[in-house]
């Protein structure tokens, strides 16, 4: 009988702690599949963030380290400078990357660090229980924005891809979503492209993944996917924001 699908060797058999309907699991799988297909599982080093993905290194079947909150790009810089031939990736949420760690991600991109960042944007702090994130949509409720995010008081969401794409050190920046099978396939292609950018030594690459957090959004998994499609994608348009890989090659 022909084998149509097998679990990637890039994931361990450890049961994840993610909530039902959370898309972290999908994104983990896509990263692991890409690294496996590229033959890089023996060479890959993951830098896990503080946040829901702090335990990602237990699920990835390759090397990993847990960074301090927001500092994954700095820690990845240290690793990559020591091992320029390894595949080094950070896997960060929106609180980790776009709030406490904004300085580190901007400067890693500006330096053109040859690392790949997987940026999970679900508009909320997941692990701490649903507080407002820098990416929380206007009007969206959070435990620290119980009346909904009021932009006159709490400011506006940050569009990370748009911002980082202005930096010359950024070589491949794309925003994807995992709200439908078609978008999951596109997301995988984007992650593969970012990892290829790193492998070619071109510079910094980042894939922002619009993701769900049904638990903290107070939605069912189906409603959560719908929220990504109807509310998040219009505010955070999908697409390639930076691709200078051709010029560099």
């Amino acid at each position: 009988m022909a084998v149509l699908f097998e679990k990637t060797k890039g994931m361990t058999d450890v049961k994840t702690h993610y909530c039902p309907g959370c898309t972290h699991g999908i994104v983990h799988r896509l990263v692991a599949e890409c690294l496996e297909e590229m033959g890089e599982l023996d060479n890959a080093i993951d830098v896990s963030p503080v946040g829901c993905a702090v335990l990602a290194l237990n699920y990835f079947n390759f090397d990993g380290i847990q960074a301090a909150h927001g500092r994954a790009p700095a820690t990845a810089t240290g690793i990559k400078r020591v091992h320029p031939d390894k595949m080094v990736l950070t896997y960060q949420g929106d609180g980790d990357l776009a709030s406490i760690g904004m300085c580190e991600i901007v400067h890693a991109a500006a330096r053109g660090e040859k690392i790949t960042t997987i940026f999970i944007n679900n508009g909320i702090y997941g692990m701490t229980g649903g507080q407002m994130a820098p990416t929380t949509l206007p009007g969206m409720k959070a435990t620290t924005a119980p009346y909904g995010r009021d932009v006159s008081l709490q400011g506006y969401p940050i569009r990370v891809c748009e911002m980082l794409s202005t930096l010359d050190g950024s070589k491949y920046i794309e925003r994807v979503a995992v709200d439908s099978p078609a978008n999951v396939i596109k997301a995988k292609k984007a992650i593969r492209k970012a990892l290829e950018t790193q492998k070619a030594g071109l510079g910094f690459s980042l894939i922002e993944v619009l993701s769900t957090c049904p638990t903290n959004w107070g939605k069912t998994p189906v409603e959560a996917v719908k929220f990504v499609k109807e509310e998040m994608i219009p505010y955070y348009p999908l697409g390639v924001y930076k691709d200078s890989t051709k010029e560099e090659e």
């Binding site: 290194l57 090397d63 301090a68 700095a74 020591v82």
Partner: protein, 352 residues
Amino acid sequence: MAKILLKGNEAVVRAAIEAGCRYFFGYPITPQNEIPEYFSKELPKVGGTFVQAESEVAAINMLYGAVAAGARAMTSSSSPGVALKQEGIGYISKAELPAVIVNMMRGGPGLGSIQPSQSDYNMCVKCGSNGDYRNIVMAPGNIQELVDMVIEAFDMADYYTNPVVILADGLIGQMMEPVEIKQPEVKREMPEKTWALTGKNGGEPHRIINLNLDANELEQVNIELFKKYAVIEENEQRYEEYKMDDAEYAFVSYGTASRIVRSAVNELRNEGYKVGMIRPLLLWPFPEKAFEGKDHIKKYMDVEFSMGQMVDDVKLACNDKHKVEFYGRAGGVIPSVNEVVDFAKKVMGGAQ
């Protein structure tokens, strides 16, 4: 090897490169700027990498990555910058990784001054991040000691898989003395870095963990850390005794302050006072052994460039707080020999 004249900050770089350090991550701050500047010039010549980080916080976390990857690497800063590094130092300590951190102390608190000070004793010796952990802390009193300690710090860090802090001050950083760059006298058998992030290369993944959600598991991590610290406390107490043989009074001082105290001891000896000095070379582990069998010492006179920080450890080590007197100048003010002599005479009374 012939002696060469080196400024303290430059000596750090020469010593680190001699020790095999090939990665430096840092951020500018006075009075240690010659360290990143000289590293940026020298590391490319030996196939190393210098990164000017966007902040002290980034620098210590780059160091965390580099040492996790198995390299010999370091960072340096001065007091406010080292304050920013504390969290990262805690992470490196928890992960049991070898790292070297140089602190050329300046006056505090807050932004403070840029003059030499010793007011980071508590931050560096007692450890300024969250949780229970210890760092090995070395306190050079001259440039040769600085060189020797930096070189040995890399060995100690690798041997104990623990951060080592070189706690010096702006005076050590800025002054020049003739030095010899040489390998450490203590030769240690270095453990292989089997834990390093190098890619799993067909084996099991290397995982460097900083989070233990299970309280019992984390307690066990703490217990294991403190087993290691007990070994370090047993093996690494180091101090100099200066004119202590017949001393009835003893100064306790470290680093640059001990240079002034040494002159004060000489002056007081000329006047007939039976006085000496205990000088800790490592501040953690604190040299408690130096205070053993010294019940005959009438007073310990602790002199620091601070409002009094090591003095607490002196009280514990001699086990009699009533025997301990303190004199210090703070904020970057350096006491004169005469001031120290006057302080001592007040303590000793007419006890010539």
